[in-house]
């Protein structure tokens, strides 16, 4: 039975507005699966949510070790949720290593649920614990619920005749069952999912269902005093419609499919396995009926080159990778730029340099995206702010690529790629189509000029196979109209100017303010996945009376035309980024503004409190901000959309 090591404090509030739960265990314990299913049931219960999967680069790191800990955090609430939450309220620790690695993040007074069955001498040693933390009083400032989940799981699945080792695999389902009970979530969707997953092994499905139900029943019947009580979380009032959960990788894939349809083009996707970008290849490989060809190339270079070859032949070429792979593709991007062929390059950024942090998030490829090519090689860059936003941004990338005959880089990151959030399923018919056009006849009297530009500065797209329009293109500088080799000085000057002018002339919506006024003391300027935490931090600072606005930039290159003026209407500009200050440099360069960096490169997303503390430094006169000290508070405030409709 329970061996709660500490006296229960107040425990969790019976009806909080938001709660953060972190499931942590060995990388073989199935924590990502547990988290994913808990997310699904939470979404089905109508709560808003954001998740943060945090797992090691090793597939199966040695069992029980600190570096093998895999965690999945979910923040869910009856209010709009923008981040995965700063500090967990509940930590589920499946072994000593999981406890050790994640304890520091837990809120004081938070609840620990631990499997005593895994707190063996051997596992304690592996986690470098000298004494059992469940017993030595070191967890006094937390609520602890410790009981033998392993044993209870084995009991629950006994009727199915599984050996202990196999039985223990259902431990995560037992734990999930308990979590479902704690937060009053339905079990049926998980039952259905297990039946589908183990369709060919009904025994395994039944065993897992039994474990899930046993965990749930444990909560129900053993309803303990103290922390073990049910928390009710009413659904978020949201816009009517059909909803689902979506990860960034799914959203990018669906957005690309939608973008290709809006461009009325078949899509060719060239990819090469790399974390965290591979998921896009996996999704698209199953969508062949949408005119998608996926090609797993021999390397990153071949992946982009094949995509360019497909664009040359008249399809929408797409390639995707992460930092090191993007570096390999760089030369080919230059070819797409000079031959002016459409191409979408998705970069799911991760920590760098080199192999860096394959499974952790960072925004440190911005220089690479904007500046990182030989020669003057301008290329549009846009960034997604969240998993669901990645759908919109992918469509926008397809639009720019095909309308302007240019490669486009779409930046997401490891956090966006893996994180899930509820998504109101959009109606494809609500998007304005942007059909691609192919030239089939001479465009200059009786002559054909492959580089004669339209009013947007784009050259015509001609499919090989078109009679009478045979022509040659390539990476050598070419004549401004005929496309024939031309190294002459004036021509190169004009072609460089034309390529630059075309990209700078791309129609980008005016920059709006995400939250707050269009002028004031401080603008917090972000891009990409920092949107959620910045947004919440600005929101809180505003509630305290700070004159601070949140500006979120989607179009990194070219920047919105009014951005400079907008920034100049603030006394201070703070640019939080998960890098050493790359966007800050771009803003300073483009607008000569005193953009101040706030940087983080720990592989973890920003916490709201970190940003709030930094904002507070600009408002020493406001009570509660002295010296940038702010209280950690994870309660998420209502969505800003209520204030700034954008």
């Amino acid at each position: 039975m329970a061996t709660a090591a500490t006296s229960p404090d107040e425990g969790l509030p019976a009806s909080p507005e938001a709660i953060v739960v972190r499931f942590a265990g060995d990388s073989g314990d199935g924590m990502q699966l547990t988290g994913g299913q808990f997310t699904l049931s939470t979404a089905l219960a109508g709560n808003d949510l954001a998740t943060f999967p945090d797992f090691p680069a090793e597939i199966r790191a040695p069992q029980g070790t600190l570096f093998g800990v895999s965690a999945f955090q979910i923040n869910f609430g009856s209010r709009s949720i923008n981040t995965a939450g700063d500090a967990p309220d509940v930590l589920v620790a499946m072994n000593p290593a999981a406890l050790k690695v994640n304890l520091a993040a837990l809120k004081p007074g938070g609840l620990i649920i631990a499997d005593t069955g895994a707190f063996t001498k051997r596992n304690l040693d592996k986690a470098h614990y000298e004494a059992n933390p469940l017993e030595d009083g070191s967890l006094a400032k937390f609520d602890v619920l410790a009981f033998d989940i392993s044993e209870k799981t084995i009991e629950a699945v006994k009727p199915f005749g599984l050996g202990n080792k196999d039985a223990l695999r259902s431990k995560n389902m037992w734990t999930l069952g308990l979590a479902l009970w704690m937060f009053d979530r339905p079990r049926e969707p998980i039952h259905d999912w297990l039946k589908a997953k183990f369709k060919s092994k009904p025994d395994i499905a039944d065993a897992n269902i039994a474990a899930l139900d046993a965990g749930h029943a444990y909560g129900e019947t053993a309803e303990l005093a103290g922390p073990m009580k049910q928390v009710s979380m009413p659904p978020v009032p949201s816009e009517p419609g059909l909803y689902r959960t979506i990860t960034g990788a799914e959203a990018v894939s669906l957005g690309l499919v939608a973008g290709a349809q809006l461009a009325e083009l078949p899509m060719f996707f060239g990819g090469y396995p790399i974390t965290p970008a591979s998921a896009i290849l996996h999704h698209l490989a199953r969508l062949k009926e949408f005119g998608v060809t996926t090609f797993q190339a021999e390397d990153e270079i071949a992946a982009i080159c094949a995509a360019i070859g497909a664009s040359y032949a008249g399809q929408l070429g797409v390639t995707s990778s992460s930092g090191p792979g993007i570096a390999l593709k760089t030369e080919a991007m230059g070819l797409a730029i000079i031959t002016e062929l459409p191409l979408v390059i998705v970069n799911s950024q991760r920590g760098g340099p080199s192999t860096g942090l394959p499974t952790k998030t960072e925004q440190s490829d911005l220089y690479q995206a904007v500046y990182g090519r030989n020669g003057d090689a301008p290329m549009p860059v846009i960034a997604a702010r969240s998993p669901s936003d990645a759908f919109e941004v992918a469509i926008e990338a397809c639009r720019i690529a095909t309308q302007y005959m240019t490669p486009v880089m779409l930046l997401t990151d490891g956090y966006i790629a893996n994180a899930a959030e509820p998504w109101k399923v959009p109606d494809p018919a609500s998007y304005e189509p942007f059909p691609a056009t192919f030239l089939t006849e001479p465009n200059d009297g009786e002559n054909f000029l492959p580089y004669k530009r339209d009013e947007k500065g784009a050259r015509p797209w001609v499919k090989p196979g078109t009679p009478g329009l045979m022509h040659r293109i390539g990476g050598i500088e070419k004549h401004e109209l005929t496309g024939n080799i031309d190294y002459s000085p004036d021509n190169h000057q004009r072609m460089t100017d034309a390529r630059k002018g075309k990209v700078l002339g791309i129609a980008v919506p005016d920059q709006e303010v995400a939250l707050g006024e269009t002028s004031g003391k401080l603008a917090v300027v972000g891009w990409g996945s920092t949107h959620g935490p910045i947004h919440q931090a600005v929101r809180r600072a505003r509630e305290k009376g700070c004159s601070v606005s949140h500006i979120h930039v989607r179009h990194i290159w070219p920047l919105p035309k009014n951005l400079g003026e907008l920034l100049k209407s603030f006394d201070h500009i703070l640019v939080p980024e998960m890098n050493t200050g790359q966007f800050k440099t771009v803003l300073r360069d483009q607008f000569l503004v005193d953009a101040q960096p706030l940087t983080k490169t720990s592989g973890q997303p920003f916490q709201i409190a970190e940003l709030e503390a930094e904002i507070a430094k600009f408002f020493d006169d406001i009570p509660g901000n002295e010296g940038g000290q702010v209280k950690v508070n994870d309660q998420q405030l209502p969505s800003p959309e209520a204030e700034n409709d954008q």
Binding site: A43, G46, S78, P234, P235, P237, E239, P240, G241, L242, Y243, R244, T245, L254, V257, A258, P266, G270, L287, K288, E289, F290, T293, F295, A297, E298, D299, I301, A302, A303, C305, A306, A307, I308, G309, A310, S311, Y312, A313, G317, E331, A332, V425, D427, P428, A429, K463, P464, G465, T466, G468, L469, M470, H471, R472, I473, G474, G475, N484, I485
Partner: protein, 344 residues
């Protein structure tokens, strides 16, 4: 290639208005003419023909062909060609590469385009030197080649293009040289082969590696040093006075004398283009004791990559509807109705 409707053209129709920029006397001129002469004979359609190249002297080839052309980046032409072919399998693709482009920087892509068997003709101009960068030793340079980067002679062991191609899984290996009158026949056979057809063309770089192939390509005494292979014909050379036989004890080829045309009793073997083992031995025959094997060394088609991709796409799409609205709303979803979700 597939056999689409034949188009009437002349050599002139395949020439561009661009001034050819190779060095005077370069072997590339002869190859260009051989190709421009061959394509009308094949009835090819310039609008459906695409020349794709990498970087190097040979890779300027597309600029001189009145077809579609894509001069890409160093070593990567096979990848561009693969993408183009998958996007439009009706295109007749010719890939032009060199020993540096195809075997050094682009060795990985050449290997994969061959093993995947993407239907195209791959012409590798082998001049055993880097020409466009002014004469450095290349991966096919013979040991001892003196060059700016190997002033006292190169010391790395050369790659053998045809052996590389066969090892990578190529199903067609042809060999010729720039000024050979037989080159068009090899090009035609390559074009007729459905799949990746690899043609090694020995090409004389008159500036940096002049006459390096003269030992077998020079007109004088050529019949003694060239073995032109023909499917179903005995492997004879030196005006039919010599032949290639199989030494059955050592399992290797040997040169035998043929008297009065009686090649059968001399044990000369008949060329079977589909015999991969013999193709391997022909490719590896050391020049000197043996003649240089030329012509179609190997030709044994298997299903192409693009056909497999199309088949997989059809299989994967079978019975599925391309309905985007349905796709977006797939999976476990929930509906928020207008009234039930009152704000708390």
């Amino acid at each position: 290639m597939n056999a689409p409707a034949k188009i009437e053209t002349t050599l002139k129709d395949w020439e561009t208005d661009q001034e050819v920029r190779w060095c005077p006397g370069c072997g590339d001129y002869a190859i260009l003419k051989a190709v421009q002469r061959t394509l009308p004979q094949l009835g090819c359609d310039p609008a459906k023909t695409v020349f794709i190249s990498g970087i190097g002297c040979s890779s300027r080839f597309p600029y001189y062909m009145e077809t579609y052309g894509f001069h890409t980046i160093h070593g990567r032409a096979p990848a561009f060609a693969t993408g183009a072919k998958l996007a439009n399998p009706d295109l007749d693709i010719w890939l032009v590469t060199g020993d540096g482009d195809g075997l050094s920087i682009g060795g990985n892509h050449l290997m994969h385009v061959l093993r995947r068997n993407v239907n195209m003709q791959i012409m590798l101009f082998n001049n055993e030197i880097y020409g466009l960068t002014k004469g450095q030793a290349s991966p096919t340079s013979r040991e001892g080649t003196k060059s700016p980067s190997t002033p006292i002679g190169s010391y790395d062991h050369p790659a053998r293009p045809a052996a590389f191609a066969l090892g990578a899984g190529a199903r067609f290996i042809g060999r010729g040289f720039d000024v050979s009158k037989n080159l068009p026949a090899v090009l035609k056979a390559a074009h007729a082969h459905k799949g990746a057809a690899f043609i090694e063309i020995f090409q004389n770089c008159i500036v940096y590696n002049k006459d390096v192939f003269d030992d077998f390509a020079a007109p004088k005494g050529a019949e003694d040093r060239q073995l032109w292979l023909e499917d179903g014909k005995p492997m004879l050379f030196a005006k039919d006075t010599k032949g290639i036989a199989l030494n059955r004890e050592k399992l290797c080829l040997e040169v035998v004398d043929v008297t009065d045309g009686d090649w059968e009793s001399a044990g000369v073997i008949v060329h079977d283009v589909s015999n991969r083992s013999v193709a391997h031995m022909l490719i590896e025959m050391p020049f000197g004791p043996f003649p240089m094997a030329l012509g179609v060394l190997y030709d044994d088609p298997r299903p192409t990559f693009e056909d497999a991709v199309i088949a997989e796409r059809e299989k994967s799409s079978a019975g599925k509807e391309a309905n985007l609205a349905k796709l977006l709303g797939k999976g476990q979803t929930w509906t928020v109705s207008g009234t039930a979700q009152d704000p708390i």
